[in-house]
């Protein structure tokens, strides 16, 4: 294994190893500057202000005391929910635009969580909008709600597509309920979810032909259209232009595929100008390997080594057909990457020291992060058998180089040893100052859940616990 050597020669900052041998008191290596929660908070405030601004036209356009009948009141509530829904839809699409700024400020994991929460809220708001307007209009015209549906569909422009959009949205929302989503094949779910762009398109028209605040040419209408254009621009930028620029710039190719254990491989990648690649250990890319059979699939994998200016590496456990195909990648294969993204990095720490808990192949982002954490970190590595321990030589080397304590905890979840250790008391014994550390967790869902519970009981504040999750 030549890895430690190559890494040392490619090192960016002054450690003594370049001059031969390690000195007794190692020079503190470079640690990325902390990125506070400022960006996230700013964005949260901006989005809230936007929400208020979306409802403002209604507030200004409705004179006080004008809602004096039930019908008018219900219709007004329908308008408010309509404006809110229109706005939330745009936020929702923005969250998934993979705009680099968003990825940097709140990270892929958080955006995904926001996307899920806003999505559920959006669906409820749209349904409320529809029912309120229907009831309000039906009351005004003295007809039943069903007859009103007929009137809207028959006599109103753009209402058919608006109803279709609602239907699509219900379908997408329904298929995203966790239990149902698990039962669906991923490809089908993905296709359904892609159809949400239809909602944007189909729901567009009726807002401007019938929206009481939007049908009139004026600043409100112009602003609303501008908002739409901005979101579409963000989508184009984040999904098309930024990845294109990234890949044209760095031109990644497979350099080598190495077996790490019986069922785990590392893929080494080279490219151009990698010295300028701003990437932090613990971040991930969405990878697309451009060979027959693989090019149409894009999967998120963490890099398993920090940026070194010369190569990238992903370490992947072979679990499905796609990952099995990756074993046969030829050197020189072109790779399309989107990223880097994620806030599972040393830069997002809140404290000076960290505790890292990895399970199985969850070690990969943590391995990369170890190179950038301040000295004094602690690592607990859970694995079922000694053969499941990955990258152990690198970990041992990093433990020395970065003054990190590493514990390998081997055994099944129900063995007494691991059980004792992964309890609040066990954690406190192992790491007495655990409550004053950032905790980075990456591993199978069971381990993550169990650890979070134990950590919370051991007194670690929620915001100091960082999770690496690609899925919702």
């Amino acid at each position: 294994m030549t890895y430690p050597h190559t890494h040392a020669t490619g090192r960016r900052t002054g450690t003594s190893s370049r001059h031969g041998g390690r000195s007794a008191a190692p020079v503190p290596p470079q640690v990325p500057a902390r990125r506070g929660p400022g960006g996230r908070r700013l964005l949260g405030v901006l989005l809230l202000v936007g929400l208020l601004a979306a409802v403002l036209p209604w507030w200004l356009g409705t004179p006080a005391g004008s809602l004096r009948s039930t019908a008018a009141t219900v219709t007004a509530a329908g308008r408010i929910t309509g404006l809110v829904a229109g706005y939330l839809l745009l936020v929702q699409v923005l969250m998934m635009s993979r705009l680099p700024v968003l990825e940097r400020w709140i990270g892929g994991e958080q955006t995904a969580r926001w996307h899920r929460d806003i999505g559920a809220t959006l669906l409820v708001t749209v349904l409320a909008h529809m029912s309120l307007i229907l009831v309000g209009y039906a009351d005004l015209r003295n007809q039943s709600v069903l007859a009103e549906v007929g009137t809207l569909l028959g006599d109103y422009e753009d209402m058919v597509s608006a109803f279709v959009a609602t239907g699509v949205m219900m379908l997408v929302g329904f298929s995203s309920i966790r239990a149902i989503r698990r039962a669906l094949p991923y490809e089908l779910w993905h296709l359904l979810h892609l159809s949400s762009y239809l909602i944007l398109l189909l729901g567009f028209g009726h807002q401007f032909t019938h929206g009481a605040q939007l049908y009139k040419p004026g600043p409100v209408r112009t602003g609303w259209i501008a908002l739409y254009l901005l979101v579409v621009a963000a989508l184009l930028w984040g999904r098309v232009i930024a990845p294109l620029a990234f890949n044209l710039r760095y031109r990644l190719r497979v350099a080598d595929v190495v077996a790490e254990s019986t069922d785990t491989i590392s893929i080494y990648l080279t490219g151009e100008r990698l010295g300028r690649l701003a990437m932090l250990g613990g971040q991930h890319f969405r990878w697309r390997f451009l060979t027959r059979g693989c090019w149409w699939q894009s999967h998120p994998f963490s890099v398993s080594a920090a940026a070194n200016g010369r190569w990238l590496r992903v370490t992947v456990k072979v679990v499905g057909t796609h990952t099995a195909d990756l074993r046969d990648l030829d050197p020189g294969t072109r790779v399309w990457a989107e990223g880097p993204s994620g806030t599972f990095t040393a830069a997002h720490r809140l404290r000076e020291r960290a505790l890292l808990i990895a399970g199985g192949s969850g070690i990969t982002p943590i391995r990369a992060m170890l190179e950038e954490l301040p000295p004094g970190a602690a690592l607990i590595y859970r694995a079922r058998t000694p053969a499941d321990v990955l990258l152990s030589r690198e970990l041992d080397w990093l433990a020395q180089e970065r003054d990190t304590s590493v514990w390998y905890v081997i055994g099944s979840r129900d063995d007494p040893g691991p059980r004792q250790l992964m309890s609040p008391d066990g954690l406190r014994q192992l790491v007495p100052d655990v409550a004053r550390r950032d905790v980075y967790l990456c591993g199978p869902p069971g381990l993550v859940e169990q650890s979070v519970r134990a950590l919370r009981r051991a007194g670690v504040p929620r915001r100091q616990i960082h999770l690496a999750t690609f899925e919702l």
Binding site: L67, R68, A76, I118, Y215
Partner: protein, 199 residues
């Protein structure tokens, strides 16, 4: 999931709050106002005693006219072709007696004009008369759909409200809105009939 519930509850609460705030100058008056609110209700002709909660405080003093321009809300579910039309046949002349009896404050009345059809749709106007003055005009119905929405919006912007052309001119000789000749004419006809009833 908890955040979703919080968000939905928050939205529902703030929507209700907004509607209630706008609902009436004071929330407690909502109930009292309800009976007079139906725009198609024939009763508006009747003299509203100045016990009308809005009248005493806000009316002439603040320059904020009482029943305010409710134009926006009740009208816009634009009646389509198939819709049952608000009937105006029942409208009768408002009794004129109370006007003279209530001395200190001018009485406020709502008078609905006859509805008129034109090739684009149905037009009906309601005015609010305080004493001998028109203080507000509201189009209860205007042609809708497609381009008509825009023209109807123009008509509404020009004529309606407490500062519109109707209130400025105090008669039905309004300038025609360009691009919306038919609708302007129907508006004037309906307004004329409302003024006749109010006298």
């Amino acid at each position: 999931m908890r955040r979703v519930f919080l968000a939905i509850t928050g939205l529902a609460a703030s929507t209700t709050a907004l509607v209630v705030f706008k609902g009436s100058p004071a929330a407690t008056q909502v109930a009292q106002n309800l009976p007079t609110a139906q725009p198609v209700n024939p009763t508006p002709q009747e003299v509203e005693p100045s016990a009308d909660p809005n009248a005493p405080g806000t009316d002439p003093a603040d320059g904020e006219p009482t029943p305010s321009k409710s134009a926006d809300s009740p009208v816009s579910p634009k009646p389509g072709k198939t819709t049952a039309r608000p009937s105006t046949t029942k409208t009768t002349k408002a009794p004129s007696a109370p006007r003279t009896t209530k001395a200190p404050q001018p009485t406020t009345r709502r008078v609905t004009g006859n509805g008129f059809d034109n090739e684009y749709g149905y037009v009906q106007v309601q005015i609010v008369v305080s004493g001998n003055r028109i203080v507000e005009a509201v189009a209860l119905s205007l042609p809708s759909g497609g381009e008509s929405d825009i023209h109807s919006g123009d008509v509404r912007d020009r004529y309606d409200g407490s500062g519109g052309e109707v209130v400025q001119k105090q008669n039905a000789n309004l300038n025609t809105v360009s691009g919306a000749t038919e609708t302007s004419n129907s508006y004037k006809q309906s307004l004329r009939s409302a003024i006749e009833q109010a006298i």
